[in-house]
């Protein structure tokens, strides 16, 4: 299980996360939604080791991740697909995929895995020698997900994979995520597309101003009006679930 406990993160005088606690059970699909500036990306970046927390902890299967470097965390079977895809645009599609296998020791199997990935995402096979920066946004998103999967993550973290994509492409991205979830990959998805995320995930958290202000299943969040209340903002008006922030 991936467990985030009482995480505080600050950028200078600005506090981005205020004691956030979430849990991602192995094999589960967890969503984190919230408006711009809620601290969603900070949460993922802290888990992945890009941002250092002020206090609190991140543990994966009981072993502490907080304080570890990003390049070591990915070796513990946790991969992040960051906001904006962040593919290596000047490198080819194949080179991007090869970089996804950096932490693997099984070089031969990694090569086979790359070939398999190009079958799962045929567009990547077709454009394997093309510069990744020349792909469309949707193709780049597929590449970013494929690259992350090549590290063989048990936990896949995605930061707004639908951002900037046409609705039809967003559909296919969500289809890919459902398929990965069915194959046993644990997913932590951060999104602004709140309804869709909540409906797809087993369990979701609503983040606002660095605090978890609501959590629950799709029916709990949608029917109870918790999601709308959190998004509409009303500081203090959003119902604070029992135990929120302590998950």
């Amino acid at each position: 299980m991936l467990e985030v406990d009482s995480l505080y993160v600050a950028y200078g005088p600005v506090t981005a996360l205020r004691g956030v606690s979430i849990k991602v059970e192995k094999g589960s699909f967890v969503g984190v939604v919230g408006p711009n500036g809620a601290g969603k990306s900070t949460l993922l970046n802290t888990i992945a080791g890009v941002v250092k927390p002020k206090s609190g902890s991140v543990t994966l299967a009981g072993s502490k991740l907080s304080g570890a470097r990003a390049e070591h965390i990915v070796g513990k079977h946790l991969s992040l697909v960051p906001e904006g895809r962040r593919i290596f645009g000047q490198m080819t599609v194949l080179e991007n995929l090869q970089l996804g296998t950096t932490v693997r020791k099984d070089r031969e199997q990694a090569r086979t895995h790359i070939t398999e990935m190009m079958e799962v995402f045929p567009i990547l096979g077709r454009f394997r020698d093309r510069r990744a920066g020349h792909l469309s946004g949707g193709e780049q998103q597929q590449l970013a997900i494929a690259r992350a999967l090549l590290a063989r993550p048990e936990y896949l973290l995605l930061d707004e994979p639908s951002a900037g994509l046409a609705p039809v492409i967003v559909d296919s991205v969500f289809e890919v995520l459902k398929r990965l979830h069915n194959e046993g990959v644990s997913i932590l998805l951060v999104e602004q597309v709140a309804h869709r995320t909540v409906e797809t995930a087993d369990h979701s958290y609503v983040l606002q101003h660095g605090n978890i202000v609501a959590r629950g299943t799709a029916s709990e969040l949608l029917q109870g009006g918790l999601l709308e209340a959190a998004y509409l903002g009303a500081d203090g008006a959003a119902p604070e679930p029992e135990g929120a922030g302590q998950a």
Partner: protein, 294 residues
Amino acid sequence: MNAVFQFLIDALSLGSIYACIALGIALIFGVMNLVNLAHGELIMVTGYTLLLTHGLPLPLRIIIAITAGVLAGILMDKLAFRFIRGAKPATLMIVSFGIAYLLQNLAILFIGSQARAVALPSWVSARISVGGIGVSPLDLVTVLVTVLLLAGMGLVLYRTPIGRQMRAASEDFTMARLVGVKSDRVISTAFALAGFLAAVAGILLIAKTGTVTPTMGLAPLLAGVVATVIGGSGNLKAAVYGAYLFGALTVAIQAALPTDLVAFRDAVAFALVILVLIVRPQGLFIRRAVAERV
């Protein structure tokens, strides 16, 4: 015809040396966001090693000098920059300035501030005839060595996992770490390669000038930085193209200026560079970013 051939040889020769320096600067800039103002001191360390190994056979001196350049690069990282990973670019640059100043002063303290002549074989300053055109063997060696070196660097950067990781780190360092690229290893390798390139450039420069001084790295550093900037910062190929362009520009200006104005060659070259940057601030060989497509 003779003049054109001479221009080509001179431009290629100077551009090749600049390319070695610019590629080293671009490698460090790419992985650390640092304009390493102590890069010229890698050349200086190489130069003094060549001087101090006087008496040994030349090939051995060259090997020792290159090793010294590589070690100086690695030590620069291990003893200074490693402790300020993630610092702001301005902080890194000031530290690099401090290292440059420290190394120059160490050279003055232990060897002296005067220019020292480096003994080299006589063929270095000879001229030979190729098809009736007189050329310097040193220029031919410079072009040959650097072309082989740049081809070798191309193989390392484009055909090996560490090269791929360095290019990835150069493009997006945080993302490279997120796929598992070990930051310390990549930075150390970049410093070692930069030291190697600077050492080769230093040996070729000393072969041309025949002397070493504590501040001998300053002018090559400036040329390398300018080449990197006009090519396009953060892009390795662009730095090499920029170096050859700046080399050709320098030689062309020298040839075009009246004799009494040749002293102002660098001023004219830098004025042209400023003009280039006003028109294309991103550099001449950088295409508009294509990564942010939707």
